[in-house]
């Protein structure tokens, strides 16, 4: 390089100038390239720092069901990704135990309680107390008559209407009204009370329908569903439709119809989280109409509300959000196993 430089001082000066310019351009480009590669997201640090050491507790009615296991898996995954604590306190189908859990949580003060209510009344006061103590409460699928920070779940009345409409489509007949049996859950459960309202909205408006019996299956017991269905089938051999409360319960309903040889005659409609059982039931003819409240979708809604609750700086109770889940209906015609989730396919 040095050997190549010949000539007078002007030449040297020119060269120096050229090199400086080139170097400057190089540095400038490098700076420009750096600016294109990275920049700080001003939201990010606060967002993640906010989740540190926060705590979310889930109080289900009962673990070990496809619904609760599904929700819990989705909530646990987000907690792990964002680094906040997530805990499950199972109340084991025992309302008193659930109330006790909530009472102790009020003094433990987690940031968020996600609660699935066994009925519309029992926990209402405790949930109010929890919010007063500064804990944000999100009610999941089964709500009390007291509105808290958030609710994620099905519009149960709408489920009832959809099921009843399916029965009307098959059974409505003014000369010989179509006989319908309703198999509900526990009388005070939101899934019984609100769903019955939905049924009545449709059935009472149609003179071609005859609601012959409304019976409770206790705590969603399939054996009880079976025995009630058997008794009512004896009384009304021309029964046209059974409106069931939940897929797991209506396995018993379907068993009664199969034994009586009336699986083809009687329309069974039911609802649930849209898990494997939904598709299995449609495939095996246990029910012919299924309203799904889509657990994976609910899980995502739920996670969004948890995130919002953890970021909310306003006083507890000042914002209240209701997210009714978009319902999906399955019939044998729309059946495909890819539509039903299992714990393994949940993401």
């Amino acid at each position: 390089m040095a050997g190549m430089i010949k000539g007078g001082p002007e030449m040297k000066k020119l060269l120096k100038l050229g090199m400086t310019a080139a170097l400057g351009a190089l540095i400038g480009t490098a700076q420009l390239a750096h600016a294109q590669n990275s920049m700080d997201d001003p939201l990010r640090d606060d967002y993640y720092a906010n989740f540190e050491g926060r705590k979310v507790v889930f109080v289900p009615v009962f673990m070990g069901l496809d619904l609760t296991e599904g929700w819990s898996k989705i909530m646990a995954r987000q907690a792990e990704e964002l680094g906040y604590d997530y805990e499950v306190r199972n109340s084991n189908f025992n309302t008193a135990a659930g109330a006790q859990t909530l009472t102790s949580l009020i003094s433990e003060k987690p940031d968020v309680i996600v609660v699935q209510n066994p009925d519309v009344q029992s926990y209402a006061k405790l949930l109010r107390q929890a919010e007063k103590a500064g804990i944000r409460v999100i009610q999941l699928n089964m709500k009390t008559n007291y509105q808290t920070t958030g609710f994620v779940g099905a519009d149960v009345e709408l489920i009832g209407e959809k099921q009843a409409e399916a029965a009307v489509a098959k059974c409505s007949n003014k000369e010989n009204p179509g006989k319908v049996l309703v198999l509900a859950g526990p009388p005070t459960s939101p899934f019984s009370a609100y769903m019955l309202k939905g049924y009545e909205n449709v059935l009472n408006a149609d003179p071609g329908m005859n609601l012959v019996s409304v019976q409770s299956t206790g705590d969603y017991e399939s054996s009880k569903a079976k025995s009630i269905a058997q008794v009512v089938l004896q009384q009304h051999p021309d029964l046209c439709a059974i409106l069931g409360v939940w897929d797991n319960t209506d396995v018993g309903t379907a068993a009664a119809l199969q034994e009586a040889g009336k699986a083809d005659q009687v329309l069974v409609t039911t609802s649930g989280g849209g898990g494997e059982l939904a598709c299995k039931g449609l495939r095996e003819g246990m029910w012919q109409y299924y309203v799904s409240y889509d657990v994976p979708g609910q899980g995502r809604d739920l996670n969004a509300l948890i995130m919002a609750a953890l970021q909310d700086q306003n006083p507890v109770g000042s914002t209240k959000t209701v997210l009714y889940t978009p319902l999906v209906t399955y019939t044998p015609e729309t059946l495909g196993d890819e539509r039903c989730w299992s714990l393994d396919t949940l993401r």
């Binding site: 070990g64 084991n92 009388p187 017991e221 054996s223 008794v231 797991n248 068993a255």
Partner: protein, 330 residues
Amino acid sequence: MAMLSAVLGKGGLDQLRIVTLLFLAIFVVYSVVLPGFFSVGNLLTLMRTVSVLGILGLGMAVVVIGRGIDLSMIAALAVPSALVLTLAAKGYGVVPAIGIGLMLAVVIGVLNGILVAYAEIPSLFTTLAVGIGVAGIGQIGLFDYEIVSWPPALDGIAWIGRGSLYGVPFSVLAFGAAAIVIGIFLRRTRPGMFVYASGDNPGATRLTGIPLRPILVMQYVISSCVAFFAGMVLAASSASMDTRIFNLTWIYDVILVVVLGGIGLSGGRGGVANVIIGTLLIGTIMNGLTIMNVSFEMQNLVRGLVLLVAVLADSIINPRNEETAQQGDI
């Protein structure tokens, strides 16, 4: 009428007779008032809806006659049978699956028996704790979901809960068969007699050289095996085993049919007939209320009232005093 006079025949009115009269009265009223109640189809349905309860009652009767109580029966009904369904679904074969389920039931019974007979812990606490423990084991690890569905691999034996023979449902026949077996055991075999003896007077039983403690263990093994049998019938019948039933009030219904039928909790009295009549009474009441479309809360209320009436009638007609009361009365 012949039945009535047979019922009233010899002796006074004990609780079995009172309950039989109550049953007949309700039955007659329902038959007259409720259209469709008195039909073969409905009566078979009535029997079918209470057959599992009846089978459980038979197992409970054996323990109660031996002056104990078995609160773990619902756990012994749910967990071993759900285990059978799970194992069969995983392809272990029908016979090994049932064998393992039966073994689990026997283990539950032996555990209860040893704690009651040898550690001398009152049966109320022992069986309560064992029941919770067994249900807990099921919840923690044995099953994916709390509700285990009936696998196609077991369809070969599904008839025990689903089919019928000459129009009589198999679950009713299962109740009948269990009643005959337990009846013969209690009245016609030596260990059965020993059960009465151990319930009537444990001290005297031991003095006469009867092996009291092994007899106690045997009672609990019988009750949990009977519960397992009831569990298989129930699972086949509703095409799934809902292990949550442990948390429900079933065990009270079982105690209800036993006590209602007139098997005193103080032990040594009663037999299979008491369980059958108690079961029929409950079945008839519930069947009629369902036909009348009475609400769930009202049905529970009526059930409670009937028990109260039966127990009250017994204590008025057969008052207890220091002579007739026994140690161990609950």
